[in-house]
Structure formats: C-alpha cells, structure tokens
C-alpha cells in the first residue's frame, strides 16, 4: 500500500530523517513509536505532503506520490489527524464532518460518528469548532473527521495527547472499528502501551532511522527495554516513590 524509499529530511542543518525505508501493507494497524524528537511526526507529515522530503520517494497504491500536493494525496486516499487540532471560527462540527465525508451527510450518520468518539450529536453538531471547546473535545472532533473521511490510509499523530482516560478507552474502539469498517491501514504515532498492544506491526524510529519494524509479538518485547511506555513509567515512578516513603 505505502512504500517510503530512502527518505531524507533536514532542517536548520539538522538531519531529522536519514534514509528512511518503510513498507506498510494493506489492512494493517501500524504503530510508529520512538523517543521524542526521533522524527516520527515529520515522517507522518511527509506522507501527507505537509512537509516535502529533500530526497527519496513515496509510493502509494503503486503510484509515485512524492510530488503530489496535500489535496491530491487526500483525494487519493490518505487521511491525517493533527496532533494539535485546528480551530475554525465559523465552521461547525457538522461542516467539518461533511467536508471530511466529501458530501452532505444524513444527520443520523453524523450522529453515529460523533457517538463513536463519545460526543452527543445534539449538543455538538451545530457548535463552532472554536476555542470555546476544550482540548479533549477538539481531539475527539478531529478523530470523528477522520472516521468520516474513510481513507485507505489514515495517519494519527499522537491521538492520545490531551484526551482523558474515558476517551482513551474509546479511542482504541474507534481504531478497531475503523480498521474493520474501512479495511484500509491505520498508522498511529504513539508512545502508549495500550495502543502498541493493538498494533499488527510496530515501527521503532530512533534518531531519524527505522531501527526496528516487525510484528507486535516480535517487536514489543524488544522495545520495552529501549523506551518506556508512559503508564509503565508512571507506575515505576509511583512504586519507587512509595517504596522510599515506606522505607
């Protein structure tokens, strides 16, 4: 489905991606993980066309899309959920869901999509996507837009950032539902163990390079020694803190 060939990207004399080669097959749930600043978000933006690589090729569905615009890539079946959702004065949740779906939607279909991300359609459908909404609400609307877009390849850049525990549990359900419904591939950039746990494949990016890529069962045990998923780190810290207090 997607193939990255020798992707290099530098900014301000710093090499962010170094000859990245990566192949994503059809109908896979792939989690890209790695330390902060390793180039994960840049890679996602390069696939969507928001950033352009200095060299290398991007092949999507057998077609070279390296020189295609963001719009052309979106139309050919790539979707991208921003890490920091964008606010729009004047555009409503319904407007954005309809733009995502590419047509006017039946209210009940838009309601179903909002319900999947834990939002009550009656309350949200006609609300402006502006700064009156909380970070968590904006994030859920962002995810709802991607669910409406039904792309062959949907990229989520740290979807868990800024959302509460309740929506986090639902987020996993949304990914699984999208995966089942669309039969496309989902690429998620995440540090969360619970998201890593539902991956078919895991890609570990470190220092601008693909360090590991394989099935979850194969990669997960290997990377736990390298990066610490957030809640494990929190548990460890809590344990050591508790131990000190007890001691």
């Amino acid at each position: 489905m997607l193939e990255l060939k020798d992707i290099c990207f530098s900014r301000d004399n710093k090499e962010i991606l170094k000859n990245v080669n990566l192949k994503i097959d059809n109908n896979k749930m792939v989690v890209i993980t790695g330390p902060n600043g390793s180039g994960k978000s840049t890679l996602a933006k390069i696939i969507m066309g928001i950033e352009n690589p200095d060299s290398g090729k991007i092949i999507f569905e057998g077609k070279d899309i390296t020189n295609l615009s963001i719009t052309e890539r979106a139309k050919s079946g790539i979707g991208f959920a921003f890490q920091q959702p964008v606010k729009f004065k004047g555009l409503t949740v319904r407007d954005l869901i309809e733009i995502s779906a590419g047509n006017t939607m039946k209210i009940c279909d838009a309601c179903d999509i909002l319900a999947d991300v834990g939002l009550c359609a009656q309350e949200y459908l006609n609300r402006e996507v502006n700064s009156e909404l909380s970070g968590g609400e904006l994030k859920r609307i962002e995810i709802a837009m991607l669910a409406a877009k039904k792309s062959k390849l949907t990229i989520f850049d740290e979807p868990e950032a800024g959302i509460d525990l309740w929506s986090f549990n639902n987020l996993i359900d949304v990914f699984e539902k999208m995966h089942d419904d669309i039969k496309g591939s989902i690429m998620v950039i995440s540090h969360q163990e619970r998201i890593l746990n539902i991956a078919d494949e895991i890609v570990l990016i470190s220092n601008g390079k693909v360090e590991k890529h394989g099935n979850r069962e194969e990669i997960l045990p290997q990377i736990f020694g390298k990066i610490k998923p957030c809640h494990k780190l929190e548990n460890k810290e809590r344990c050591s803190k508790g131990g000190a207090e007890n001691g």
Partner: protein, 305 residues
C-alpha cells in the same frame, strides 16, 4: 416587477412571492406595495420621506418586511422609518436595501431607522445590504439605526452586507433602560476598492442592561474597513464587544473598540482580532481533500455565516 427587481428582493429579504404579514416595498424613492394587519399599521410620513410602523402591544408571531430597492443611477434616496413596538409584543422585522446600478452615476440610499421598544417588547431585526450592476456608478448605502429600549425590552439585530456596496457608513446608536438587552451580529464583506465604516455607540443607562456586539468582517483586495465602537456603562450593566476581521490581498482593517465604565458595577469587555487566514486552517482542510482555493472559500463562508 422585472427579473432584476425580483432578484434584489430575493437577495436582501428572501422575498420571492408576496410576503406574509405586514410589508412596505419601496422602489426608486417611492412606495410600490403595502400591506397592514390588524396589529401592525404602516403610515406614510407627511413631513419627510418615510413611514411609521406601529405595532400594537402584545402582538406575537407577526413580521414586517420593509425592503428598499434602487435600480436607477443618479438617485439619492433618503428615508426615515420609525418603528413603535408596543408592550410585550414579540415580532420580526426584515429590512434591507439592494442597489442595481447599470449607469455611471451614483446610486445612494440612506435609511434612518428609529426603533422604540416599550416595556417587555421583543424584536428580531434583520437587515441586509447588497449591490450589483454592470455600471461604473458607485453604489452607496449609509444606514443609521437608532435604538431606544424600554424596561426589560430586548432586541436582536442581524446586519449583513453581502457584497457589491462601493462605500458604506453604518451607524448604530442605542439607549438602554433597566433590564433591557441588545445583541448585535454584524457581517461585512468588502472587495476591490470598497470601503466600509461601522460605528456603534451604546449607552447602558439602566440597571442590569446588557449588550453584546459581535462584528465579523472580511476585507479583500484593496478594500478598507473601519470598526469603531463605544459602549458606555452608566449603571450596573454588562457589555461585550467582539470584532474579528480577516484580511486578504492588500485589504486593511482598522479596529477601534472603546469601552467606558461610568459606574463601579459596570462590567465591560472588548476583544478585537485581525489577521489573515491561518496557514494551518488551510492545511487542515486540504488534508480533507479541498484545494487551497476551496479551503479559503469554506473558511470565509463559515466566518461570515
């Protein structure tokens, strides 16, 4: 009525057939159609051009349409319309002016509207301004709105300048008594070398009176807009003025929101933001499949909706 006149009426008042309820249609300086109801009377003024619209107390769910159309160049149409809205009435008034100028002379309409709302009266006032025509003559609209709100009266005013108006000065003055409320929503779009100036002057005189003014505008090409407001809190009251503008091309916007607290219990806020369309907004909509141009249109249309 010909096709041009019908289109103007559709643009400014959404009228395609004879409107329901009371109405007065003015064309090129003269009244051409009128209807009154048992509760709403329309009387031609004797001392100056214009009409008095008298709405009986407790009138509910009725509407008045008073559109004005100009299709002649070289005409300067000045009109005084005075509205008297009785106690506890609850009505909708739709006004507006459309100019079709196919000449090289200026066509101008200055509508001076005075609203007098008695105790507990409720009004929704919708006003649209629009210009078109292949002539080089200017299309000028200078509406002046004077609002006197009695005790516990409330008014919602929607003022929209759709397009095609060469220059406009839009003035709104409000005097508000105890417990009254005013909500103003203004939308303006200017293109080419058009100019638009908006002035709001609100006196919150009565205890617990409140005003909310939200102005959104888009200045494209070489057009210039100016927003000036002065909200005076003369009692325990609440006032909020919000002015947002998008600039495109060489468009310019000057915003001058002033608030004046003349009482220790007055609570007044003003906010003003001017800027071009954020790059990330365009990028987001492009990732959903819109072209840059389509994304821009969506953002502008949503902003001015």
């Amino acid at each position: 009525m010909d096709k041009i006149e019908k289109n103007l009426l559709k643009q400014i008042a959404n009228i395609e057939k004879t409107p329901m309820g009371a109405y007065n249609i003015r064309e090129n300086g003269k009244g051409i159609a009128r209807n009154t109801t048992a509760n709403i009377d329309i009387i031609t003024k004797n001392d100056k051009p214009g009409i008095d619209i008298i709405i009986k107390p407790n009138t509910k769910n009725e509407s008045v349409h008073i559109p004005v159309i100009l299709t002649q160049g070289g005409l300067n149409d000045l009109v005084y319309n005075d509205f008297y809205i009785g106690e506890n009435a609850d009505v909708v008034i739709v006004a507006g002016c459309g100019i079709h100028n196919s000449t090289c002379d200026t066509a101008q309409h200055d509508g001076i509207h005075t609203f007098n709302l008695e105790r507990g009266a409720k009004l929704k006032y919708i006003e649209k301004h629009y210009g078109e025509g292949e002539g080089t003559g200017e299309r000028i609209l200078n509406p002046k709105t004077i609002i006197n709100l009695g005790e516990d009266a409330s008014m919602e005013m929607e003022s929209v300048q759709i397009k095609g108006v060469t220059s406009t000065i839009r003035e709104t003055f409000a005097n508000m008594e105890k417990g009254s409320s005013l909500v103003v929503s203004e939308r303006i779009m200017t293109t080419g070398k058009q100019t638009a100036k908006t002035i709001f002057d609100v006196n919150l005189n009565g205890k617990d009176s409140s005003v909310h003014v939200a102005s959104r505008s888009v200045a494209e090409d070489d057009s210039v807009q100016e927003f000036k407001s002065n909200v005076k809190g003369n009692n325990k009251c609440f006032g909020h003025v919000e002015c947002d503008a998008i600039i495109m091309g060489n468009g310019r916007v000057i915003s001058d929101p002033m608030i004046e607290a003349n009482n220790i219990d007055a609570s007044l806020i003003h906010e003003a933001a001017i800027g071009k369309i954020a790059g990330e907004q365009l990028t987001k909509l492009m990732t959903l499949g819109l072209t840059e141009k389509e994304a821009e249109e969506q953002i502008i249309n949503g902003f001015l909706k």
